[in-house]
């Protein structure tokens, strides 16, 4: 009753132009769990009001020219060339491995075509020991941190040098503790709440506290999983320095982002969880760098989550198991590649600064291709991990009896057939040490 009366006398009720507008604070004390002002007008709001949407932060225009008033991140010739080389390495690698998959030499692959600026820009803005939890399309982060082409190939081929996962995972499921890159997990979005846990652990570790963050990548499709909501909510309420980077590339396999949400993208959800949020042009590498650097700074300063939505376009198919022309026009993809190519945009910027030219471009492309082909050919010739690795790492510590029993059974069979039965002998030759490790 009291609330109603007071609401009635609050004649100067503010109008909400957006969800986050400030209003009168005259009667705040009435509601125990909020500082919400009391108003008398019946006014609903939404993340999209009329045509008003969350803006997109950008530094370079489509032809690589800085926008008027835009503040460039600190950048010099050497740093710019490194960014560019990394951006170009991704499609070079992707083209080779995509075709290698088509030839049946690896089972699966996912390209990053169109999202090079988002991935390389984020990698460049993070510290090298920030913990990264990727979704699957973030190979560029590992490459930036010095993960070698041989290691990339080793993982994709699952050969004896695969120390991401000893040939136990599908291609592109990279992981490397030395590069602070958590192992990719196939179920979608599980990395989001885990990132909050990783950041919580960083906050609990004196040597990393106030120095390192957890950076978590995911697509706009993954943001529909419950894990997304749980993860953001926890990283804001049990505050932990987690930088959530949503790669909004327009498609969750075949589902267009227009069907993925009715609100204003992924960015509109950040304020709901009380975390600083920005939408950035994901095809503008300088904007990505600035946004991620600032996001990172806020993570550490507040000890809390920050959300970045990077707007991009997935030029490639979702994976080698997908043919995207079944649900989108080839012309649309070709147009996108021509009109808004993140690599071209940055090259134009570099050229205008006198940091790049046609000769450098030709030299780079040849060099990268040679490097990638060399790594590919080498990987093809390597053997698989030792046969004994079949039984390791299911459990840490003391090995349970059932695993010991499984190994014993195989050893028995190897002794019986390993040498005399040709199919077995041929198969054993594919393993490092020809399966001898089990016999000793």
């Amino acid at each position: 009753m009291i609330r109603l009366e007071l609401a009635a006398v609050s004649s100067a009720a503010p109008t909400f132009s957006r969800a986050f507008s400030k209003g009168s604070s005259r009667y705040r004390q009435l509601l125990p769990t909020t500082n919400s002002p009391i108003v008398s007008n019946l006014d609903f709001f939404n993340s999209i009001q009329g045509n008003e949407q969350i803006p997109t932060y950008r530094i370079l225009d489509g032809v690589g020219k800085p926008l008027q008033g835009a503040e460039l991140p600190e950048i010099d010739r050497e740093f710019a060339r490194r960014l560019y080389e990394n951006m170009q390495l991704l499609p070079t690698l992707d083209n080779v491995l995509y075709n290698v998959q088509r030839q049946g030499k690896i089972s699966f692959y996912m390209t990053a075509h169109g999202e090079e600026a988002t991935i390389v820009g984020s990698a460049a803005a993070l510290e090298l020991d920030d913990e990264v939890l990727g979704q699957y399309r973030e190979l560029g982060v590992l490459l930036w941190r010095g993960f070698t082409l041989d290691k990339v190939m080793a993982q994709c081929f699952g050969n004896e040098e695969d120390n991401s996962g000893k040939g136990r995972q599908m291609p592109v499921h990279f992981g490397s503790p030395t590069h602070h890159f958590h192992t990719i997990s196939s179920p979608l979005a599980t990395q989001i709440p885990q990132a909050a846990g990783v950041a919580y652990a960083l906050r609990r570790t004196p040597s990393r506290r106030s120095r390192s963050i957890a950076a978590c990548f995911f697509g706009e499709g993954a943001a529909s999983e419950g894990d997304f909501h749980a993860g953001l909510m926890l990283a804001s309420t049990i505050p932990s320095p987690t930088l959530f980077i949503a790669r909004n590339n327009g498609f969750a396999i075949s589902t267009p982002s227009t069907e993925q949400y009715n609100g204003d993208g992924i960015a509109s959800r950040g304020p709901g969880y009380g975390i600083d949020t920005i939408r950035v042009d994901g095809n503008d590498i300088l904007a990505v760098i600035s946004a991620v650097r600032e996001g990172r700074r806020r993570c550490l300063e507040q000890g809390r989550a920050v959300l970045i939505e990077a707007m991009s376009y997935r030029v490639g198919h979702h994976s080698t198991s997908d043919d995207s022309f079944a649900y989108r026009a080839r012309a649309e993809v070709e147009d996108r590649k021509r009109v808004d190519n993140p690599i071209t945009r940055f090259r134009l910027f570099m050229e205008s600064n006198g940091w790049w030219d046609a000769d450098a471009e030709a030299e780079l492309k040849t060099r990268l291709k040679v490097d990638v082909m060399k790594a590919f050919k080498r990987a093809e010739s390597l053997k698989r991990c030792e046969l004994g690795e079949l039984f390791t790492d299911v459990y840490g510590g003391e090995e349970p009896w059932n695993i010991r029993e499984q190994r014993k059974e195989l050893v028995g069979l190897l002794k019986k057939y390993g040498e005399i039965y040709p199919p077995w002998r041929n198969e054993l030759a594919k393993f490092k040490n020809n399966g001898k490790d089990l016999l000793n």
Binding site: E131, L133, D162, N163, S164, G165, K166, R168, Q169, H173, G175, S176, P177, H182, T183, S185, S186, P187, T190, I192, P193, Q194, A195, A196, G197, V198, A199, Y200, A201, L202, R204, T205, A214, G226, D227, H229, A230, G231, M233, L234, T237, I238, T392, D393, V394, Y395, G396, G397, P400, W401, N402
Partner: protein
């Protein structure tokens, strides 16, 4: 077999004079364990044993912390974490918002980054919302990362039927988690089990699913001098012969061990010597101890509070008939389980849905080809 199972399920209806199962669960087990060699009077409730285990491990290891819904200021839904926030502060006893998927994910992430989280679920029925984090992330990451990233996390909370809480709060998940390579699963019974196994679970380099029982929280058990020590560990993957016998083997876990002990006591009055095996661990399963016992007694009755189909009992039965113990069996293996129905809410029906002592006695006699 089908008709035998059906008969087991219907049997209690015919048994008018059976003991109240809830009263049995509250019974103090002091003195009910003649094999105990201790000469002290220490007793402890299961709740306190769990609490002490966590406190000791948190004192020992800075990286151990607890998180879950209302575990800190409210002391836990069942008061298992009582006082821990006061002792260790809010950084190590963390209240989370209500999202199992979220705080299980945080726990897994923190474990992947080097901490040792204890993740409390208000009940394992709610952990269904987080099962992907438990099975696919915690259970498999060590293997999938080629041994790069261990995930030493403990998921704990009450499991199985409580009392009057309906089908969605009454399921036993031992068989579910027990089927996953990469997870360890324990289902303790006594206070000693709880203390020793929880401490082992916290120290284990693997993810451990720790299945408690709400009905046992308030039950007191004797504690040996050894169990009172802060270095008392019970090994995961080993069962315990709680009572030796030569005529029939009972295998049970969690609250069903109480019923097995009572049934053994009742049978003893008729001169039948039942051996009772407290399973303690679901995975790894200590089948050797069960095989040894069956070779001695020639008869096996497996008792569990879970559903009959694809259950812990089914697995033990299968492993026994696949082993040399098969040749020693003088009667078919019997499973006494929860009824194959969504757990009823009505008290009378709920009581009939789970094994109790008279039912175990009855089935044991059937296995012994005794009629009465």
């Amino acid at each position: 077999m089908v008709s035998r199972l059906a008969l087991s399920r219907l049997a209690p209806v015919l048994n008018v004079a059976r003991a109240s199962s809830s009263a049995a669960s509250r019974r103090v087990f002091r003195g009910a364990r003649p094999y105990s060699t201790t000469d002290n009077d220490n007793t402890m409730t299961v709740r306190d044993a769990l609490n002490v285990a966590m406190e000791e491990e948190m004192l020992r290891d800075e990286t151990v912390f607890i998180l879950g819904e209302e575990v800190a200021r409210y002391n836990g839904a069942y008061k298992v974490t009582k006082g821990l926030m006061d002792k260790f502060g809010e950084k190590r006893v963390v209240d989370t918002p209500i999202t199992e998927m979220g705080f299980a994910g945080i726990a897994v992430g923190a474990a992947l980054q080097g901490l040792r989280p204890i993740c409390e679920f208000m009940t394992f029925n709610f952990a269904m919302q987080a099962i992907d984090q438990i099975v696919n992330s915690a259970g498999k990451t060590y293997y999938m990362s080629g041994g790069n990233v261990p995930c030493p996390v403990v998921f704990r909370g009450p499991n199985g039927a409580a009392s009057g809480v309906g089908a969605q709060h009454s399921q036993d998940y031992a068989a579910w988690y027990g089927s996953v390579p990469g997870l360890k699963v324990v289902s303790p019974w006594s206070a000693e089990d709880c203390k020793g196994l929880l401490k082992s679970a916290i120290r284990d380099p693997n993810p451990v699913v720790f299945l408690e029982n709400e009905m046992l929280y308030g039950t007191s058990f004797p504690m040996s001098q050894e169990a009172m020590s802060d270095n008392f560990l019970v090994p995961i993957g080993k069962c315990k012969v709680e009572r030796e016998g030569s005529d029939i083997t009972f295998v049970g876990h969690s609250k069903m061990v109480s019923h097995c002990m009572e049934a053994a006591e009742a049978l003893a009055k008729e001169g039948i010597k039942a051996e009772v095996i407290n399973l303690r661990s679901i995975r790894p399963l200590d089948i050797d101890t069960i095989i040894k016992s069956v070779k001695k007694t020639n008869r096996l009755v497996i008792v569990e509070g879970g559903f009959p189909a694809f259950g812990v009992g089914s697995e033990i039965c299968a492993q026994i008939v696949e082993s040399e113990a098969f040749d020693y069996l003088d009667a078919p293996v019997e499973r006494v389980t929860g009824a194959d129905v969504p757990t009823p809410y009505a008290t009378n029906l709920e009581t009939l849905a789970f094994p109790d002592t008279p039912l175990i006695v009855k089935v044991a006699k059937r296995a012994l080809y005794r009629t009465n």
